[in-house]
């Protein structure tokens, strides 16, 4: 099915947000995940199933400033 990940359309296997993170090799502690403009609680990553057309944002920490 197709979803948008950080603005780009991508074909992914159906599954949960956690499945998608694993497929992309992203450590869940390193990212905040938004689905359709709403931030997911970390313990909902494994229970939130993605649907066709969902807009997923992986928001990485960006810490620098000096």
């Amino acid at each position: 099915m197709q979803v948008k990940i950080n603005g780009k359309p991508e074909e992914i296997q159906s599954g949960t947000v956690l499945d998608l993170l694993k497929a992309k090799n992203i450590e869940p502690q390193m990212v905040a995940v938004e689905v359709n403009d709403k931030v997911l609680e970390r313990d909902h990553l494994a229970t939130t199933h993605l649907n066709e057309g969902d807009q997923v944002e992986f928001l990485f920490y960006m810490g620098g400033g000096r």
């Binding site: 990212v31 709403k38 931030v39 810490g63 620098g64 400033g65 000096r66």
Partner: protein, 272 residues
Amino acid sequence: MEFTEEQINRYSRHILLPEVGGKGQKKIAKSRILLVGAGGLGSPAALYLAAAGVGTIGLIDSDVVDLTNLQRQILHHTPDVGRPKVQSGKDKIQALNPDVSVSMYEERLTAGNALKIIGDYDVVIDGVDNFPAKFLINDACFFAEKPLIHGGILRFDGRVATIIPKKSACYRCIFKAPPPPGLVASCQEAGVIGVLAGIIGTIQATEALKLVLGVGRPLTDRLLDFDARKTQFREIKVRRNPNCALCGEHPTITELFDDGDPYAGCAVRPSA
């Protein structure tokens, strides 16, 4: 307060703007803006805010200027190496515009001093380089009810967001807590393209001036991400999180605390 003829000349390009005018320029002259960190982001912000005629600029930084800073921290020049950043910063600000008064805080922002310092300002600009400090600034601005202009830079990526406490999404609405230290690459390891500090820091200064003037639409409930490789901005919509530990419906953070030791953690984006 009345402007002198010299001041009217100095600020004429502002005064010409219908959105600013003499009235707006007076708002700028009365404003007090705090820069937490006089480094990469703080440098361009300080210079433009000084040029704009901000009444008082507060500089907090406990560091001295290091040679490795000069690649991006344009507030500091080669002869400043070894000098306290707040002193070096004050000199440049006042050379640029003697109208500006500068308050120096040669210390780190901590849970102990944050509310007292922030309470004296109208707007706070985040120019720090570690997550515990970013969370502390977010929390302190919430408790002090001061608008915060958040910024971050790493490698070729930058991010800006404006946070109006209790009105728009805060940093903890999105990122609940600092990332685990072990998983984070340090700034020194990660590197940053120096000019990115200029891009993000000047957007922060723009946002601060807009708030002072009450002009336009602030960058609230949005993260503005910049990718210098592609020269592309992206806006990510965010919302206040009802489960936010700080500003949600049932907050669990009810007083200021130091959320972890400040370590040199910069970011955790998988290296590109």
